[in-house]
């Protein structure tokens, strides 16, 4: 299943890639592939901005504005002026996770 097209904030600079393969190991959406000892992006629209790849890229080749793709969290974030985050542990209101 794929979500909206052309919205992801995932950015990749292949010249910084050292070919370690960590991004392939952590991406749960199969966004990356190894070609010629470097990672390549097969389909950016598969990305759900979880942030695992950027967190584990030691060469600064990946960046993404990571966050939760959860309407309830984003609405709460808008209302309280804070960053969207899962409300699961803050009472029984959170529907996510």
């Amino acid at each position: 299943m794929k979500y909206l097209l052309n919205v992801t904030t995932l950015r990749y600079s292949s010249e910084k890639c050292a070919g370690c393969g960590r991004c392939l190991e952590v991406c749960p959406r199969g966004v990356f592939e190894m070609r010629d000892k470097r990672a390549t992006i097969t389909n950016t629209d598969l990305c759900m901005e979880c942030g695992a790849c950027a967190k584990n890229c030691d060469f600064g080749a990946l960046s993404v504005n990571a966050g939760v793709g959860c309407a309830a969290a984003i609405i709460t974030g808008l209302l309280t002026g804070s960053e969207p985050s899962c409300g699961c542990s803050d009472g029984d209101s959170g529907s996510c996770c």
């Binding site: 299943m1 794929k2 979500y3 909206l4 097209l5 919205v7 992801t8 904030t9 960590r22 392939l24 190991e25 952590v26 991406c27 749960p28 959406r29 199969g30 598969l46 990305c47 759900m48 901005e49 979880c50 942030g51 695992a52 967190k55 584990n56 030691d58 504005n65 990571a66 966050g67 939760v68 793709g69 959860c70 309407a71 309830a72 969290a73 984003i74 609405i75 808008l78 969207p84 985050s85 899962c86 699961c88 542990s89 009472g91 029984d92 209101s93 959170g94 529907s95 996510c96 996770c97």
Partner: protein
């Protein structure tokens, strides 16, 4: 002085004995689920019970682990821990449970409790470097959102392997020499998973439903002579039924039918299903809804929009929606929902005014 009383460390019911290690005794957990484990799973799937469904953080043993056995990291949400120990059946392994405030691995990693720091300090607290002689630790792949492997290696000497997304793939992952197939590292969202998650959409919605019901009954019962129970019921009942129908369409039908409903936007998916299911049930209420053009327009505007909003809430349960996409949907959706609600209310008020014969 109660504090002086010495409390013996109680053995949790899911533990089966202890095992000796160079750093002391470690609880051994069973790979089989008891009735209490199954019952806990059901309760944690439907409601607030999940908030405190925890195991104590620390080191546990599965089977007869030695200094060469693998270490699997987990969250202290009991369901996460239960699934892991169940899938480790037949293996000899260590399980290191992090303190994630009883939240599952993925959500905790997103929230920052399943983190690099928590992992490093928990490894130190259980003296992992003495318990085992090798230097590899297997972290669930979805924990990678919160764990920087390089930093863990730098500070502890342990090399982090991000294991499969699903615990059930662990035995084949280990057998393959800690290699994942693409299938093992990809998260899916099959129909059973979608169904399992719907109670967490339906329950919060149903908690708010009495407010909607109250408002509808008062609106229809309100007559120049006071609130009449009879007109409240006869006039309001069809709308209560349509309200329930729209909750079901948005919070149950849309998630279940997700890949089969056209369009990528959850708001549009929910609106379509809301419209279709309303078309299916509306004829049952006959003239009560159809008799009045104002009510007719208001309900066809309002109820599919309500389903659409409910469907949008399901983005929090999916495994493929990103923040930028949901923000985009909300930016367009929220003004639309508010306008639809406003217009419906105005139409209802005009209807009431005409009913009372004021105009």
């Amino acid at each position: 002085m109660q504090t002086l009383k010495f409390v013996k460390k109680e053995v949790p019911y899911y533990c089966a004995g202890e095992i000796s290690t160079p750093v002391g005794k470690v609880f051994r957990v069973s790979s089989d689920w008891s009735r209490a484990d199954y019952w806990g799973m059901i309760k944690s799937r439907v409601g607030a019970f999940r908030m405190n469904y925890a195991v104590a953080p620390g080191l546990y043993a599965v089977g007869e682990p030695t200094k060469d056995s693998d270490i699997f990291v987990s969250a202290n949400y009991k369901l996460s821990f239960d699934i892991l120990r169940h899938e480790l059946k037949g293996l000899n392994a260590w399980v290191l449970v992090l303190d994630t405030k009883s939240i599952n691995v993925w959500c905790a990693a997103g929230k920052g409790t399943f983190s690099t720091n928590e992992l490093i300090s928990r490894m130190a607290a259980v003296k992992l470097d003495i318990v085992v002689t090798h230097r590899r630790i297997i972290v669930p792949q979805l924990g990678a959102v919160g764990v920087n492997a390089a930093e863990v290696q730098k500070k502890t000497g342990f090399r982090v392997f991000f294991g499969p997304v699903q615990a059930k793939d662990i035995p084949s992952y280990v057998k393959a020499g800690y290699k994942k197939t693409k299938d093992m590292s990809t998260i899916r969202f099959p129909i059973m998973d979608r169904i399992i998650l719907t109670p967490m959409e339906i329950n919060p919605a149903m908690k708010k439903f009495p407010w909607f019901a109250g408002a509808v009954l008062i609106l229809f019962g309100l007559q120049p002579s006071g609130i009449l129970f009879k007109s409240a019921w006869s006039g309001g009942m069809p709308f209560l039924a349509l309200g329930l129908n729209s909750v079901l369409a948005g919070a149950f039908l849309t998630p279940v039918l997700l890949p089969f409903v056209p369009f990528r936007s959850f708001a549009i998916k929910g609106w379509i299903i809301g419209l279709l299911s309303m078309s299916a049930v509306a004829p049952l209420f006959g003239p009560a809804v159809r008799g009045e053009v104002l009510l007719l327009v208001a309900s066809w505007l309002f109820f599919p929009a309500m389903s659409s909003y409910m469907a949008l809430q399901f983005t929090g349960s999916t495994t493929f929606t990103g923040m930028s996409g949901v923000k985009k949907e909300l930016k367009i959706g929220i003004p639309l929902y508010l306008s639809v609600a406003g217009i419906s209310l105005v139409l209802l008020m005009i209807y009431k005014i005409r009913e009372w014969g004021i105009l």
